[in-house]
Amino acid sequence: MYRYDEFDHAFVSSRVDQFRDQVERRLSGELAEDAFKPLRLMNGVYLQLHAYMLRVAIPYGTLSSRQMRMLAHIARKYDRGYGHFTTRQNIQYNWPRLSDTPDILDELASVEMHALQTSGNCIRNVTADHFAGAAADEVADPRPYAEILRQWSSVHPEFSFLPRKFKIAVTGAERDRAAIQVHDIGLHLKKDENGRIGFAVYVGGGQGRTPMIAKKIRDFLPEEDLLSYTTAIMRVYNLHGRRDNKYKARIKILVHETGAEELSRQVEVEFAALKDTELKLPEADIQAISTYFAPPALEPRAEGWESLARWKKTDAEFSRWVHQNVQPHKHPDYGMVTISLKPIGGIPGDATDAQMDAVADIAEEYAFDEIRVSHEQNLILPHVALADLEPIYRALVVAGLATANAGLITDIIACPGLDYCALANARSIPVAQEISTRFGAPERQAEIGELKIKISGCINACGHHHVGHIGLLGVEKKGSELYQITLGGSGDENTSIGEIIGRGFEPEKVTDAIETIVDTYLGLRNDKSETFLEAYRRVGPQPFKDALYGGSAQEAA
């Protein structure tokens, strides 16, 4: 993985010193809140309902054991013993004292981490496929390009005060696990007919109050043009983005109002002027960065096949976990392990300090010291020998991390919602917990199959409800919570925005409504191989409306 050079160390360290001085001046009264607020936000410090919140960047979701142990240490020393992994592959702490934040950032810097650009109208943490560098279906590892974008975008003077925040995602496989079509820029790494590496470029996707699917404006951009073309997009956005209206300031609105064709034309004009400048990526630089992401030396471990088969025969729960949480690796003797942060009835994405330490220990002993955070709020061990799955599973059981539900109905994404968030209108976590408990039986989950439920506590859609197969949006109506249900959303290579199915449900009725939807699906699917999403796309919303509202047009309106 990427290691800081002298410049990186000096830069992050100087930012910590700068912020320490700013916090001291704030606490002494020398700096007023209005002056301080943008400074703390630039360093990832928000004010939420109960306390400050610190959002720590995990670039493209990649962590070492040493870094994970530091996250555990911070949870233990400065917070209340836990952290929340987010849909942006970051981690949030819910209870840090403002006065402690410089020390926290100092400790983070000691393991090459920071909280820069996790807030504000700048280019945020660049996200990537959580199986990058390991997936069997990958064309190339997207992380070197994500790292190049991270370096280029860090305190970029031209792009630090954009009309609004800006999110970039990169995937290296046809199967999109990074939801690139709901990002401001989505990059799909691919090869052309000559075997050259480049990108399909998508622009103007996003969720929030106006969900939009990104438009493809380039089918193939050579890799050396990554920064010049991205700069061209940013310049067009920076110039024409709607600074007059916060709700229309994202690039998706600009793309929508301008039209993808015209926007593409404007980008190409900028690009023509930038193409052969210093922004052109030298092959040597790409190679140098790629070296950091070289896969570990994976020795043949063919003995794993036999032992895995034996263990699966003797332990049904282990077998279920392998079936659900282990995916094929490039190397046939290895697998990619999803460590579910979705215990039945638990809080999606939360991990205690002890659990973080346990994952760090396991990664160090068995998984080449590498951990990923997925945008689905789980942790990943990308390189695990099949021969080591059994001891890893045993260790995860002890840590309470062996839930076998990756991709199933209880693998729910949920934002912090009104339990923590100052922007939320309704709670997300208790809704997720109740659904998880209702559907928690392993046999029932297996019968239902792949089904992604995503829950947001407000229209900002941090819980990605628009792209949930079943999405839940919490709203406040007459002082009470109400949950609007959308169906048919998807955040993969066939991205779709979910459709509102009808009137919302009160908190005590929402789990019943989900059960009605699931039962309707089970009753109408062609066979078990037809997933919820496939079935929904085949039959449309009507059977679900009929089941939920008895066919009453008024109810479903």
Binding site: R26, L27, G29, A32, E33, L47, Q48, L49, H50, A51, Y52, R80, G81, Y82, R97, L98, S99, I347, D350, T352, L418, D419, Y420, A424, N425, R427, I429, P430, Q433, E476, G479, S480, E481, P507
Partner: protein, 104 residues
Amino acid sequence: MVNKVLTANRLSDGISVWLDASGNWVEQLQQAFIARHAEAVTALEATGKLAFDDNKVVDANVVDVEEVNGTLRPLRMRERIRAEGPSIPYAAGYNGLAGPNFAA
């Protein structure tokens, strides 16, 4: 008139606080000073602004409350959660507010 209390977040640690009758910022809503008439509300608003300007607190707001059997209850759920903490168990030793005392 709807009764009101003054709430904010403490500058140093961000913890939710309420103004009591002695002019202190306390961590319990139940100890808050209740404004029952317009002049008292105006005084609370002025106090909040002063405390903000003095860098004691941030995000100072006057919020609506009702008294139910001698217990203060904010009218908005957001404020009830601010007063009582997350409605879910989230960490060792914390049992959340899913119990009978929390009225969503």
